[in-house]
């Protein structure tokens, strides 16, 4: 029996789908059998980020309403044999499915997969309730902004009411130079407010946008700093001890030289 992990944030646009896609792919890179479930019904994105949009035949609602078998709706990834995705319906809305049916589907998936990664929609209403219904664990994504941290805090409070283990935190889109200047919330500050375990930090990396537009998960490109961050997150989920990445990029030759002669 595998485990189901919901990726959630409360606030929209902090990178839930990107995080889901990359954690799912990173786990597959580690040789795990993974299924990603998009529960953002009516606004599905996971398939686009994964570049699998054109392979969708059935979706989550079709499974819930018995128009197809679960196995028929699963979309196999083009890169990995053991990575699958269950897409959300695009034509319905979040009321088209109940938390109970999501729970049944997730339970079914857990029999076949080691990890079921559930991409949660923004908000705290029906869509959120659907997404968390079948989850054993949760990963809360936030960015170093007050509003995102506030919403993450609200979500953690709501998760405490569910039968879910203490959630883990991913802080996304950190800009080292802004943190250094004190213009962005720093990691310690966020962790002390939210008071949950930190699973990883992901630096702000333009490549993430480029990769999403290409339908290629960032994590496939080892020269991207965000990719390394996601790989580290996956390794921590598998029980490895991986230190947090240093926030700054390695100084280039010119920076070193400037520092050496005292003008950097």
């Amino acid at each position: 029996m595998g485990e189901a992990i919901v990726i959630t944030s409360g606030k929209g646009g902090v990178g839930k789908t990107t995080t889901s896609a990359n954690i799912g792919t990173a786990l597959a890179l580690q040789g795990k059998k993974v299924c990603m479930v998009d529960t953002d019904i009516g606004l599905r994105n996971l398939d686009v980020v994964m570049g699998l949009e054109n392979r969708i035949i059935y979706d989550l609602i079709d499974v819930a309403e018995g128009r197809c078998r679960l196995a028929q709706a699963l979309v196999k990834d083009k890169r990995f044999d053991e990575l699958y995705m269950l897409p959300a319906a695009q034509t319905k809305d979040k009321h088209a499915i109940s938390p109970e049916s999501v729970k049944d589907i997730v339970l079914e998936l857990k029999k076949d997969f080691e990890f079921v990664i559930i991409d949660c929609p923004a908000g705290i209403e029906q869509g959120f309730k659907n997404a968390v219904a079948g989850a054993d664990k949760a990963i809360v994504v936030t960015t170093p902004e007050n509003a995102a941290v506030r919403d993450a805090d609200r979500i953690i409070g709501l998760l405490e009411n569910e039968r879910i283990e203490s959630p883990k935190l991913v802080i996304n889109r950190i800009r080292a130079n802004m943190v250094k200047k004190g213009e962005m919330l720093d990691i310690d500050e966020i962790c002390s407010v939210l008071a949950i375990d930190l699973l990883g930090i992901v630096p702000d990396d333009e490549y993430v946008i480029k990769a999403a537009n290409m339908g290629e998960p960032t994590v496939m490109n080892p020269s991207s700093r965000a990719a390394i961050a996601y790989r580290n997150i996956a390794r921590r989920m598998l029980g490895d001890t991986v230190p947090l990445m240093p926030m700054e990029e390695k100084p280039g030759v010119m920076r070193k030289l400037k520092k050496f002669i005292g003008i950097g």
């Binding site: 919403d151 409070g157 407010v193 008071a195």
Partner: protein, 218 residues
């Protein structure tokens, strides 16, 4: 009806802006309620007609529970023109004014955004109140942890209530009906080991080691 012949448990007095109901503190609460109802319905019906009258309830040294207060509100509230302004007990004698540990309720946890913790009496809270979270009590609030959200002490009107925290950085503080927005109104302190209290109708902040002086003044 001969109930009015016995000792009065309810005395109604007129003041400048309304009526004061003095409820006897030496008898059973039920008796007081019975007489209150009787007076309103049978002997003092004349005050029930006419414009809205503000009513102040004084309980003497009785410590009424929320339920009992609710009963009072119900009985008086059912008469259209009586508007309850306050329900107060007399101050305790100074000796018992010092925080008695047995009066303090110990609570633990994290109050997160969107959550509200409500308690009667004095609270000692071990943990953080996060931004968007609220802690409310009828007495004082002492927090071992960070207060980053909202705290409302003395919610029933007790201006002697205080709010103390190891890290006092609230979004807003309320004591009784006095509201304060910290950063705008207090200037920037280091925010550690501080408490808020009401002095002459205004909220003031001081270091926790000054708290005993305030207790003595009462």
């Amino acid at each position: 009806m001969c109930m009015t012949a016995v000792k009065h448990h309810v005395t109604i007095k007129g003041v400048k802006d309304g009526l004061v109901f003095l409820l006897d503190d030496a008898c059973e609460f039920d008796e007081v309620m019975k007489e209150l109802q009787h007076k309103l319905e049978k002997t003092h019906q004349k005050i029930l007609t006419g414009p809205i009258i503000h009513v102040y309830i004084k309980l003497g040294s009785r410590r009424a529970t929320e339920e009992e207060k609710e009963q009072i509100r119900e009985v008086i509230g059912q008469k259209g023109n009586l508007l309850i302004q306050s329900i107060e007990s007399a101050e305790e004698d100074p000796a018992s004014d010092l925080v008695n540990l047995s009066d303090v309720k110990l609570l633990k946890g994290i109050v997160r955004s969107g959550q509200t913790l409500t308690q009667e009496g004095n609270i000692l809270f071990l943990g953080d109140i996060n931004p968007g979270g609220t802690i409310v009590s009828s007495g004082s609030i002492y927090i071992m942890g960070s207060l980053r959200g909202m705290a409302h002490a003395g919610v029933d009107g007790d201006e002697k209530a205080v709010i103390a925290a190891s890290h006092l950085r609230p979004t807003q503080l309320r004591i009784a009906s006095i509201i304060s927005r910290p950063p705008d109104e207090w200037g920037i302190n280091d925010a550690f080991m501080e408490y808020a209290y009401v002095k002459e109708g205004k909220m003031e902040i001081d270091k926790i080691h000054q708290l005993h002086k305030l207790e003595m003044k009462h």
